[in-house]
Amino acid sequence: MIGLEIHCQLTNLQSKLFCSCKANYREFEPNTNLCPVCIGLPGSLPKLNRKAVEKATMIAMALNCKTPQRLGFFRKNYFYPDSPKNFQITQLNMYGPTSIGEQGNVSIEGKDIRIRRIQLEEDPGRLIYEGASERTQITLVDYNRAGTPLVEIVTEPDLDNPRQVRIFLNILSDLLENLGVSDPTLEGAMRADVNVSIEGGLRVEVKNIGSFHDLEKAIHFELTRQQSLAKRGIPVAQETRHWDDKRKITISSRSKEEDEDYRYILEGDIPWVILDSQSMEKWKNSMPESISSKKERYITKYGIPTQVADVLSSDKYYSDLFEQAHTESNAKEIANMITTDLMGLVDTREKREQSKLRPKHLSDLIEIINNGKVTRSSAKNALQKIVKTGKSVSEIVSQTGLAKISDEGELAKIITEILSQEPTAVQQAKENSQAINYLVGKVMQKTKGTADPALTLRILKEKIST
């Protein structure tokens, strides 16, 4: 049985959870995105970022959670150098339900994964280790991240295997991105601890896992370790283990850490936040359409194939492009162009940031394909250039000679030349009608995809049969 504790930064917010410093700490030199509040100077007080409450509540609603009547914040007390106050302001349900959400669920492959609790809390600073060996190692602290709004999502132990974990995290990541609350592709924006146990065994928590890729490995390792213990009749102890990034194994933490008593107390500097039905209604209405509803709409309204609709709806970048580019009539073709031609060009965060493509480019491209000015294959070439340059479709077509060759005489000349170079292929095409496709390909290659495919086929057939 596998349960997850996922930490997700609300990266799209302007400011930190309790002060006006930037939530986007990544662009700063170490220890320059700070103020008396986020480094906990004597006398400073937290002031709650209401936007963070709103965004976190949207996550709770999107995960079908119950939301409380009032929100409370608590202090989790522990000494650690990344925590400038030596306590973290977080939430728990010490006096009834007072954290952002509880009892939600996510459906994966027809199975319900229950969400136990969602809480809003502050991210600590970052520790940076320098030095060649353990003996010479020094630890540096960068507090730029301290106070960044963080949402912790705790699941019930409903996941069965690493594959399900991967699917769950992908769905969650898409959901957060679709809500516009976070960019999960940013380094450190989404992190997870995992609880693993086997039938009849106690729960083992694994922390310090750097990436989702390693998370799967850690689960594999932990399941195997626990099963082999069980086989030898050794009971699995309840403990916290750390993922060793270099050796790719889990290591038992010192038992002291597990016993740590956080001495939770109410954070008196932040009064109870009353969630009245009016604001809840307002927030609910301002939530973007969910991925499943988008998918449903793409299929039923535009007749987009299920698989294409799936890809399109689950990726906010693609679905935003689609929403802005499509009309009733071209929707299917826009969807196709995004999921076949565009996808390879903008499949990473960097490529997306650098891409100069605008929604209008897509609708213009479909238009000139439909009115016969360029071939589909030329359009694909044009798309590459547009992503790089951002030039308009008409400019690209006129400058680079992508206009479709529909002149029979011109095309016949090219085809004659190719046939003379490919006697074997001609012979094969005469014997097997399927083999003609090789020659079509050659023509397309020669014309860089500008040849009218139907016309090419007709001329080829005529010439071969004579």
Binding site: P36, I39, G40, L41, P42, G43, S44, L45, P46, K47, L48, R75, N77, F79, Y80, P81, P84, K85, N86, F87, T139, V141, D261, R263, Y264, I265, L266, G268, D269, I270, P271
Partner: protein, 482 residues
């Protein structure tokens, strides 16, 4: 120009040209240097005070826009942050800490052209009733230097009493403004929780403490409250003061008002008989002023000191955990320590009372004990609050002696924490319930001051100050024998 004038008198004298800010500040600084070696009210002095006074005089001369306090010298308890100056909390832990920002109350006073004459002494991190726990040595009571000035805002009270400033800001977590005011024959106001921003006040028990003025006159406290109160975006617990003018109509009197004498605070074994008899004379004065007096019982008061020490140590344990000497603090050699041993060593610089409360603060909210201590204390607090709210349905004011005992001698209670904590019995109720309370000087017994405490319902400071003013006007007390 005498230094023994009220804030209102100071303002009118500067306005009329009877004195200048420079002249008054120069005299004040003389007074400080004359008495400091004996009284030790100050931890640091504002070196730029005279320049600031000259700048204010220039503004007056040129008829430029000027703040309402006209260069009035005000001292600030050294747990309230002033930008670019030390804020030590009278602790070795923060002996070198310089605040990079102003507390909200400080920027408010600065914007009214007050001159913040210096930072004044306190019990370390405001934990104590005598300033005996200051890491930099105690302050002495100007009425008799063998006696404690009260605490924890002892330096505030001493500086006001010894004419080293016109007024002071202290902080009151369990009586820390009212207790030294009572012991030094001054006015001390603990406002409603949330009326004054705590931003920049170093937290001790953040859910119950407030900044409040210590002054020689009730009207001065009202004046200062006008300028320090109100909602602050930097303190989410603040409330709207609705721009009340606490000074206007301060002489309205209390004819026909209903006053409850809190039974549990005005009788019993811990009450000094001289304090008790003075208190009943005060009750008599209130009656003569036209108020209707009745006894009221708040039976939760019996448990308030225990409750107070559980709640405040739990919060202090958390609030003071940031002092690990990693980011600021005092010089310490890192060699030979790893993280945990460094922190243990660094935190040894807390004094004995803070250490005692840190230990309690680690214990009362801990797993297995929270139910027996912290949660029980929260229950008492809620029940007490209900009782007080109920009482205010019937009464306009609730009164008691401010402190059940007279000022005591240095060393008399320092080794008996329980006896020391019982000095808070009459003051902690206002903190636990959030209501405002004021201590008004009433009598001098054998050269030692006695103060009377008045509570009002939440946000009823205006009424409260009227009652305090009415009582003040029945008295005619001398200043401290300097």
């Amino acid at each position: 120009m005498s230094l023994a004038i009220s804030a209102l008198e100071y303002i009118s004298n500067v306005k009329n040209g009877n004195t200048t800010a420079e002249e008054f500040i120069a005299k004040t600084l003389d007074q400080i240097s004359k008495h400091e070696s004996k009284l030790h009210a100050f931890i640091s002095i504002n070196e730029k005070a005279l320049d600031q006074a000259r700048a204010i005089d220039k503004k007056i001369k040129l008829k430029e826009k000027i703040g309402a306090l006209y260069g009035m010298p005000i001292s600030i308890k050294d747990n309230i942050s002033i930008k670019d100056g030390k804020t030590t909390c009278a602790s070795k832990m923060l002996q070198d800490y310089v605040s990079p920002y102003d507390a909200t109350v400080v920027s408010k006073l600065k914007s009214q052209d007050a001159i913040l004459i210096g930072k004044v002494n306190l019990d370390e991190f405001a934990m104590g009733v005598a300033t005996e726990f200051s890491a930099f040595g105690p302050s002495k009571n100007p009425w008799n230097t063998d006696y404690v000035p009260g605490g924890s805002s002892g330096g505030s009270a001493v500086s006001v009493s010894a004419l080293e400033c016109i007024a002071s800001l202290g902080s009151d977590t369990g009586g820390s403004v009212r207790n030294p005011a009572s012991f030094c024959s001054l006015v001390g106001l603990k406002p409603t929780y949330g009326l004054v921003s705590r931003y920049g006040l170093v937290s001790y028990a953040n859910s119950i403490e407030q900044i409040g003025p210590i002054t020689r006159k009730v009207e001065d406290a009202a004046l200062l409250l006008n300028y320090i109160s109100g909602r602050d975006v930097n303190d989410n617990t603040t409330v709207d003061s609705k721009n009340q003018d606490y000074l206007a109509e301060i002489g309205s009197g209390i004819q026909g008002k209903k006053i409850g004498v809190i039974k549990e605070m005005s009788k019993g074994a811990g009450l000094d008989e001289n304090v008790e008899s003075a208190f009943w004379r005060a009750v008599n004065s209130f009656e003569k002023l036209g108020a209707k007096i009745e006894e009221v019982s708040l039976d939760m008061v019996e448990f308030t000191v225990a409750t107070y020490y559980v709640l405040t140590t739990a919060e202090a344990g958390s609030n003071l955990s940031r002092y690990d000497n990693l980011r600021y603090g005092y010089p310490m050699d890192l060699e030979g320590y790893e993280f945990k041993s460094y922190i243990s060593k660094a935190r040894k610089n807390f004094g004995p009372e803070v250490t005692r409360r840190m230990i309690l603060g680690g214990f009362v909210p801990s797993a297995g004990f929270a139910g027996k201590y912290l949660l029980k204390a929260l229950k008492v607090k809620n029940k007490l609050k209900r009782q007080v709210l109920e009482a205010f349905k019937k009464f306009d004011f609730l009164i008691s002696p401010t402190v059940p005992i007279l000022p005591f001698k240095f060393g008399e209670k320092i080794d008996d924490p329980l006896a020391m904590y019982m000095a808070d019995i009459n003051t902690v109720t206002a903190n636990l319930t959030g209501v405002p309370a004021i201590s008004v000087p009433f009598e001098i017994h054998n050269g030692l001051p006695i103060g009377i405490q008045i509570h009002a319902d939440s946000l009823q400071e205006k009424q409260l100050l009227q009652a305090a003013y009415a009582l003040q006007e029945t008295t005619n007390l001398p200043g401290a024998p300097l």
